[in-house]
Amino acid sequence: MIDCTKQDGIGVVRVGGAMTAATVDSFREQLADWQEREPEVKNFVVDLESVDFMDSAGLGTLIAALKRISERGGDMKIACLQKKPRMVFEITRAHKVFEIYNSTEDAVRAFA
């Protein structure tokens, strides 16, 4: 579901497939595992290039992740949001909650 790497001290989370009620548990668990293994990483970029669909459960999970990361003093940015998930972000006003960048590099640079 997700592939986590570290880039300039920033956690880059690449998500694959749809983010729906059926897949968010796996996303949440894998991200939590990686956060435990890399406790020094505070800031994250979630790369949604391969996410072709997202529902309210997917959005809720991203918002929960943002909340958790913010509580630890970090921040989370979204990169490479595709057309269809972007429409879901727009209608749910989630694009006002997240900082969204066109590429992962732009999002990582924004932390500098």
């Binding site: 669909f53 529902d55 057309k83 269809k84 429409m87 879901v88 727009e90 209608i91």
Partner: protein, 465 residues
């Protein structure tokens, strides 16, 4: 003069919207074909031939016998592979007095100076898309022949009567046309019964709680329901049977019939048709399979409902059998102690109008472990559960509505499923009307079992309070 309305053409962009065929797609809440028929009526035509394609039934159901427009309608099925020109040539004998032809989504956009009487001066006119005619107007056989053969006709005929030919060739032009209409142009087409003083138009039976914020220009059709603090407009076309939940904003958008819009959404610059959200800019369509966001309103009764009710009948029977002995043991003690007793109160009933249901009423305001246990075990619902087994109530559903106290609320419910258990049983803060509308929308076996489990557990943990 005869009119031929060709609804059989293939229209790729309209497929993205789903639902109705393109000829019935609404433009400012009126189907496109309604404008065509209105023009036939304005031109005082008598006979209109409607060519039907794959969606024949829906088109025929809408147009019917044409009496609404004072027209005589004939139906014909389009033959596969036959070009519109070929068909028109095959019925040449029928348009000796002239021909009015509409094919493909073609809209006559009226300018400010347009007058219906001006149509009498309309010159022979033909508009085509990819060589196929989409609009022909000819007053005689020779004129029509010439236009069909591709001979020079007027290409500015409509312009000369202050109308603009608008070929709806993609989703963007469809959205654009609707936005132009809602921005004020629809007043040029209004029929009796519409008010347009502030460029807004609200249909019948529209429920708007006090906190809703409606900003003109808007067009809202029948049976719409907006939750509190919903902002609608400017430039919003909301069609029939639409439910908009609390705190959602509909601005610069087109919401088609039978759509549910979830809580706290921002529909801005989009077309929403059932569970589809369409971006008019690039035609991107997403089908959202998530009823918390947008969804198609549920039909009145479906096979799924029958299956659900059947399964829940057995669940109700099981609960009745479990409660039978505790009820007959504890209830006599409750009666003897004169703390509470069942009283028959009048409620609304979806089938018979009214029904008298046994409701436990406390007689004395004293704390009693017996009474608490009775309620904690949900034994106060036992007589209602028996009514479920007798087929008079639903196991889970909307709260039964009192008569006459809830008469206003029942009018606002298109679907009424009085249930023994409802959201209020585990959420005291719930708004009965909103929850009832929500239940009608989301009802499913899973939802009912969730309500049942949560209600029983919540009532047990509250210990009858």
């Amino acid at each position: 003069m005869i009119a031929v309305l060709n609804t059989s053409c293939h229209c790729v962009w309209a497929e993205a919207i789903g639902g109705p065929p393109w000829s019935l797609l609404p433009i400012a809440n009126r189907p496109l074909v309604d404008y065509w028929l209105e023009m036939c009526s304005d031109l005082k035509l008598d006979l209109v031939q409607v060519m039907l394609g794959e969606d024949a039934k829906q088109v025929e159901d809408y147009i019917g016998d044409g009496k609404r427009w004072n027209l005589r309608i004939e139906y014909a099925f389009a033959r596969t592979g036959e070009a519109p020109c070929d068909y028109l040539c095959s019925i040449r004998t029928r348009w000796s007095d002239g021909l009015l032809y509409f094919g493909y989504p073609f809209f006559i956009r009226r300018r400010q100076a347009f007058r219906i009487e001006g149509l009498n001066g309309l010159r022979p006119t033909c508009y085509r898309i990819d060589h196929d005619p989409v609009f022909i107007f000819a007053r005689g056989k020779d004129e029509a022949d010439a236009l069909l053969l591709g001979e020079a006709g007027s290409h500015s005929g409509l312009e000369s009567v202050h109308a603009q030919p608008w070929i709806i060739k993609d989703i963007h032009s469809y959205y654009d046309l609707n936005m132009k209409m809602v921005a004020g142009e629809f007043t040029r087409y209004t029929t009796a019964g519409f008010s347009s003083g502030d460029r807004s138009s609200v249909g019948y039976n529209v429920h708007t709680p006090p906190s809703s914020h409606l900003q003109a220009p808007i067009l809202i059709a029948d049976d719409c329901r907006f939750g509190p603090m919903t902002t609608v407009g400017p430039n919003a076309v909301v069609a029939n049977h639409v439910i908009v939940d609390s705190n959602s904003e509909l601005i610069d958008c087109l919401v088609l019939s039978d759509t549910y819009i979830g809580r706290n959404l921002d529909i801005h610059g989009k077309i929403v048709a059932g569970n589809r959200v369409i971006s008019p800019d690039d035609g991107t369509v997403i089908e959202i399979d998530d009823s918390w966001l947008v969804a198609r309103n549920r039909p009145q009764m479906r096979a799924e409902d029958i299956v659900r009710c059947t399964i829940l009948w057995f669940v109700a029977l099981a609960v009745v059998l479990i409660q039978l002995i505790p009820f007959w043991v504890i209830y006599p003690l409750v009666r003897i102690s004169r703390i509470a007793r069942f009283e028959r109160l009048t409620f609304h009933d979806p089938r018979t109008g009214y029904i008298r249901l046994p409701i436990l009423c406390k007689r004395r305001n004293v704390r009693s472990p017996l009474f608490s246990a009775f309620k904690a075990l949900s034994l106060d619902r036992f007589p209602l559960l028996v009514l479920v087994v007798r087929g008079r109530l639903f196991l889970c559903g909307q709260p039964p509505m009192r008569h006459p106290e809830d008469d206003e609320m029942i009018k606002q419910l298109p679907e009424y499923y009085p249930g023994v258990f409802c959201y209020q049983d585990y959420n005291k803060e719930s708004d009965r009307l909103v929850d009832s509308l929500w239940y009608a929308h989301i009802r499913s076996l899973y939802e009912d079992l969730k309500i049942l489990a949560k209600s029983l557990l919540s009532r047990f943990l509250r210990g009858g309070r």
